[in-house]
Amino acid sequence: MTTNEEMPMVSIKDVHKSFGDLEVLKGVSMDINRGEVICIIGPSGSGKSTLIRCINALNDIQQGSILVEGQEVNDPNLDKLELRKKVGMVFQQYNLFPHKTALENIMMAPIRVLKQDKKEVEETARALIKKVRLEGKEDNYPGELSGGQQQRVAIARSLAMKPDVILFDEVTAALDPETVNEVLLTIKELAEEGMTCILVTHEMAFAREVADHIYFTDRGVIVEHGPPTTFFDEAKDPRTKEFLSQIL
């Protein structure tokens, strides 16, 4: 167990990923420790989504190594189900199951995948609904919820699996400005509770506030990284500076 605490939760080393001839990740490395919140920022098409999708094996990689709690992801004999029980994911488009109510969306995976007791799961699910401030929406279908509400159900659904790390891929990008905050608040609370989070985001103010570490990617490589204060105020690379000047 001692090694477990010293070891980074997620350790990415020299990852290369191509779609056909297009090399999207050209040697990316980063370490994420337990309880850390890291933000990945960068221009569109720089491979941010691809990178975090590699962590839960939604994308395979051609070269390099991704260790999640010591489990090698780049392994043909990888037990994807075991990996995905440890790694939660929240998508830009929510991707709730439209034929199930909010509560059912949250309860389904623990019951069917983790084979937990239905009563206990329901208790946890109701607590999670409360946690994301959606009391009273338990029996609504996703189609009856606003974007922000759906996204919070999606976060609760992911939390119900009690993951060790959660991946957030631009989870507020599809929301209108007023609802962005309610989702960010939920994520912030998670971060404060010590959940390990890997976020891809365009919300710079949010990144500065919650992140322990910020990575800037461009064209498949990590150009610069550092804690938020140094990163935002003392960026050295011209590409980072240009990006920040455009977005801030």
Binding site: L81, A109, R112, V113, E144
Partner: protein, 292 residues
């Protein structure tokens, strides 16, 4: 519950999967009312009457004849319904399996399912019917038990082949029409592929498959008359018999489509996929007015 709200856009190469556009103001749209049925009934009777008037009048009155033959024709038509229902049931069961085969992860299962689907989907229905009629034995013996295969059973099998292929395509199309995010969300929650399919994908597909499936059923019901060509005593065969027995008046063939009309009309009243049956009604009506 506004469960239709989540009908997002989806891509498919299957024209039947395209969501019908909402009605736009000003454009013509056929809406069926009960009185249309009455109008069509009158049109048929009048046209039959005219047909009767121009032929010689030695025979009994048209209405007398119709009433006399009615029970037999009705029995024939019920037979058509039995054939179509059974063919639909068998075709749906086998076709669903075949459709799932088409999206299997095993290359050869996928290819075989694709081949079977394409073969039966692109063969004329009549050819498949002949195929079943002449290639199937008149009885099969399984371990001492002999099951006779009368012509109508063969007709059911023959007609269920194209149904199977079409259902297979409907299933495949519906599965592919779901946004890939549904698969990814389920995968990232550690569902197995089988769980993803049965808990997430297929329940959503049922709703999408219903309209094209109803469409297929309507087409199949109309196609059961093909069975008369291969000698099954369904309604068209019986109509032919009545025709020759009563001396060759043309009104018979205007009368028979009325059964289809009535059936389709009733189905329209009771089923969700109304617009499909309406098309069927238009078809029946055309036959009524023009003859076969």
């Amino acid at each position: 519950m506004k469960r239709s709200d989540y009908q997002t856009e989806y891509k498919t190469d299957l024209p039947v999967m395209v969501t019908p556009l909402p009605k736009t103001g000003g454009s013509f749209r056929f809406t069926l009312k009960p009185w249309h049925g009455f109008v069509i009934l009158m049109a048929c009777l009048v046209s039959s009457g005219i047909a009767y008037a121009v032929t010689d009048k030695e025979n009994a009155s048209i209405f007398e004849v119709l009433v006399r033959w009615m029970p037999l024709l009705l029995k024939g038509f019920i037979f058509n319904l039995v054939i179509s229902t059974c063919a639909m049931a068998i075709g749906t069961a086998v076709g669903a399996a075949l459709g799932l085969g088409q999206i299997s992860l095993h290359g050869w299962v996928r290819k075989a399912s694709w081949l079977i689907t394409q073969f039966f989907r692109n063969s004329p229905w009549l050819v498949l019917l002949f195929f079943a009629m002449f290639l199937l034995p008149f009885e099969i013996t399984i371990g001492g038990l002999t099951i006779p295969l009368p012509d109508w059973v063969k007709a059911i099998i023959g007609l269920s082949l194209p149904v199977m292929a079409n259902v297979s395509e409907i299933v495949r199309g519906a599965v592919l029409s779901l946004p890939s995010g549904q698969w990814e969300a389920a995968e990232s929650l550690a569902y197995t592929r089988r769980q993803t399919l049965w808990l997430v994908i297929l329940p959503q597909c049922v709703k999408r498959m219903l309209p094209p499936w109803m469409n297929l059923y309507a087409i199949l019901t109309m196609a059961t008359v093909l069975a008369s060509i291969v000698g099954v005593s369904e309604v068209m065969t019986l109509t032919g018999q009545a025709l020759s027995a009563e001396g060759g008046q043309t009104y018979w063939h205007r009368f028979t489509p009325l059964f289809y009309y009535c059936f389709s009309f009733t189905a329209t009243r009771f089923h969700g996929g109304r617009y499909i049956w309406k098309r069927n009604i238009l078809l029946s009506t055309k036959h009524c007015l023009r003859g076969p």
